[in-house]
Symmetry: C2
Subunit: 326 residues, 2 copies
C-alpha cells in the first residue's frame, strides 16, 4: 500500500468545494441547545451541539467518505474504492460508492460486530475479513487494491476526507457565527484537522480544542511534545478514538489547534448518560468526549459560546456503558 503523504495542504476553498460536492448526499444536521446543560455549566455563555449522530450512516464520517469518493475522476472511480475500517468509515465509504454506482471493498476484522458487517453489506459493498491487527488490516487492504485497482480511501490520512469532515464545522459556524470555542474529539485526527482549518479560516479568533480519552492520549502527548508520538493504547469505551493520530493530520493540528485535553472513562460515560437523559438523543461514547471535558471542568469556558461536534450515534443498545461498567 502506498504510504500516505506526510503533509496535506488544505485551504478553505477545498472545504467549500467539498461542501458543494457532498451537499445533496448528506444531511445538514441540526444544532441543538439544552437549557438544562446550559444551567449545568453556568460559566459558559451557551453550548451548541452539532448533531452528526443524525447524519447519514449515523456519523460525521459520511461527509469525508462521500467527498473522497465523489472527488475521483471517472476512470479512477470505475476501478472502485477500498478501505479498512471496523466502524463508521467503512459504512460511509460503502454508502458513497453505492451512490456513485461503483464497487467498494471494505476490509473488516473477522471479529467485527455482525450489525456492522450487515450495515456495510447492506450498501452492496464487498466485505473482506482479516485478522484483528492494524498490520493485518493494512496488508489485506493493499492486497485487495493490488488485485482490483481500487483507490484507497483512508479514514483520516486523505485530503478529501479531511476537507469533507471540515464541512460539519462550516455548517455549525454558518448557524452560530459567534462561537468562541469549537470542540471535537480526536482519534486519527480527520475530523479535528478538518474542523480546525474550517473554524480558523472562517473565524480566526475562535479557539479549537480537542478532547481525547486519557486511555488513548497519543494526540495530547504529541501536542505537548511538539512531535508525533505513537502510544500503546489502554482500553477506552470511546471505540472511535483508539487510533493514533495521523501524520498529515498532526501537522495541521500543530498549526491550527489551541489545546488537546483528556478525560477519564468515568467522565465519558457520565457525559454520555447526561446527554441521553437531558437532550433525549442517542450518541455514541466517542461523541460524549468533548462534553465530558466541559462537565469535568477540564477547559475554561467562562463567558464563552461553545460549539461541540457530536460525532455519531451508532451504539450497541445491548451493551450500554452504564450496564457493562457496573
Amino acid at each position: 500500500m502506498p504510504s500516505p503523504s506526510q503533509s496535506i495542504a488544505i485551504d478553505f476553498d477545498k472545504i467549500r468545494a467539498a461542501h458543494q460536492r457532498i451537499r445533496a448526499h448528506i444531511h445538514r444536521t441540526p444544532v441543538l441547545t439544552s437549557e438544562r446543560l446550559n444551567e449545568a455549566s453556568p460559566a459558559a455563555a451557551g453550548l451548541f451541539f452539532k448533531c452528526e449522530n443524525f447524519q447519514k450512516i449515523g456519523a460525521f464520517k459520511a461527509r469525508g467518505a462521500t467527498n473522497a469518493v465523489f472527488a475521483l475522476d471517472d476512470p479512477t472511480a470505475r476501478r472502485g474504492v477500498a478501505t479498512h475500517s471496523s466502524g463508521n468509515h467503512g459504512a460511509a465509504v460503502a454508502r458513497a460508492a453505492k451512490l456513485r454506482g461503483i464497487a467498494a471493498h471494505i476490509v473488516m476484522p473477522s471479529n467485527s460486530a455482525k450489525v456492522k458487517v450487515r450495515a456495510v453489506e447492506g450498501y452492496g459493498a464487498h466485505v473482506v475479513f482479516c485478522e484483528q491487527t492494524e498490520k493485518a488490516r493494512e496488508e489485506k487492504c493493499a492486497e485487495v487494491i493490488k488485485k482490483t485497482g481500487a483507490t484507497l480511501i483512508h479514514s483520516f490520512e486523505n485530503e478529501h476526507v479531511i476537507a469533507g469532515q471540515g464541512t460539519a464545522a462550516v455548517e455549525l459556524l454558518e448557524d452560530i457565527p459567534d462561537l468562541d470555542i469549537v470542540m471535537c474529539p480526536v482519534g486519527g485526527g480527520g475530523l479535528l484537522s478538518g474542523t480546525a482549518i474550517a473554524a480558523k479560516l472562517m473565524r480566526p479568533k475562535i479557539k479549537v480544542i480537542a478532547v481525547e480519552p486519557a486511555n488513548a492520549d497519543d494526540a495530547a502527548q504529541s501536542f505537548r511534545a511538539g512531535r508525533r508520538i505513537v502510544t500503546e493504547k489502554k482500553f477506552t469505551i470511546a471505540d472511535g478514538l483508539r487510533t493514533n493520530v495521523g501524520e498529515p493530520n498532526f501537522a495541521i493540528i500543530q498549526r491550527y489547534v489551541d489545546d488537546i485535553v483528556t478525560v477519564s472513562e468515568e467522565a465519558i460515560v457520565s457525559a454520555m448518560r447526561t446527554m441521553w437523559e437531558t437532550m433525549k438523543i442517542v450518541i455514541e461514547p466517542s461523541a460524549a468526549v468533548p462534553y465530558a471535558a466541559v462537565q469535568e471542568g477540564k477547559i475554561d469556558v467562562a463567558d464563552n459560546r461553545v460549539g461541540i461536534i457530536l460525532t455519531g450515534g451508532n451504539v450497541d443498545l445491548d451493551a450500554l456503558p452504564w450496564m457493562t461498567m457496573r
Copy 2:
C-alpha cells in the same frame, strides 16, 4: 374532590388560544423524518414524527399543564394548584406553577421512582406521598385541595389540558399540512382528544388513529362498544398508557376519532428499539406505540402521509425494556 364534568366543549379557538398562551413557555418541537423508516414502510407515502420527547420536561404534558395553569385568573392562581401523578404530568404542573410563581402540590405514590420525585421537587413543588391505588391518590389530592384551596389540574379530564395537548397537532399540521393520517397513543385520552379536535378542524378529511397497548385496551374496547368501558389492566411496558380513558375525553373520541388499534408488548419494544437505532432519539415506551402499529401492519397506510406524535422521552436508562424483558 369535585367530579369532573361529563362533557367538555372545545372548539378550535380554544386550542389557538392555548397555543398563544403557552408559546413562550414551551418548545416548538421539530418534525423529523427518517429515510430508513420510510423504506421500512414502503406502502406509506412518508412518516413524520413530531418530537415531543424534546419538549420541556421531556413530554407533551408540558403543553396541557402550562395552558391550564396560565388560564387561571389571578385570585384563583394565588391559591395554588394540585394534581396527582406519578409521571410526566406532575413534573409539567410543577414547572408551570414555578413559571407562574404559584404553589404546586403534587400527590405521588410513595413507591415513585426517586428521579421523578426529585424532578418535581426541583421545580419547587410540594410533594405529598400516598398509597399506590388510584383511590388513595384521588383522596389525598382532595384532602390537599380542601386544606389549601388549590385548584385541581387533572391530567386529562380538564378542558384547558385537552386544548393544550391539541397544540402539538396544530404545529405538526402547520409544518406538514398535507397529512392523510395523524396518530397518537391513548391512555387517559387528553392528548388524543386534543389532537382529534385540532386535526379534524384544521383538516377535515384527515384520519385520526389512536393506538393502545393490547394489555391496556379499554379505549379500543370502549370505541368498539360505543360506550365507555373501564377495564382491569394487565402490565404494559408503556407506563404512560395504563390509565382508563376519561369520560369527557371519550365523548370527544367518539365524535372525532376514526379508529383505535392495539399492539403487543413485543411490538412496542421492537418499535422503540428501531426508533432509537435508526433515528438516534430517546423515546419512552408509550411514545413507540403508534409506530408499533405501523411496523406491525395494524393500520392501512398505503399511499398516505402519516404524522405520528412522539409523546415523550423520559426513560430509566438502567431498565430499558430490551434488557428487562429478556
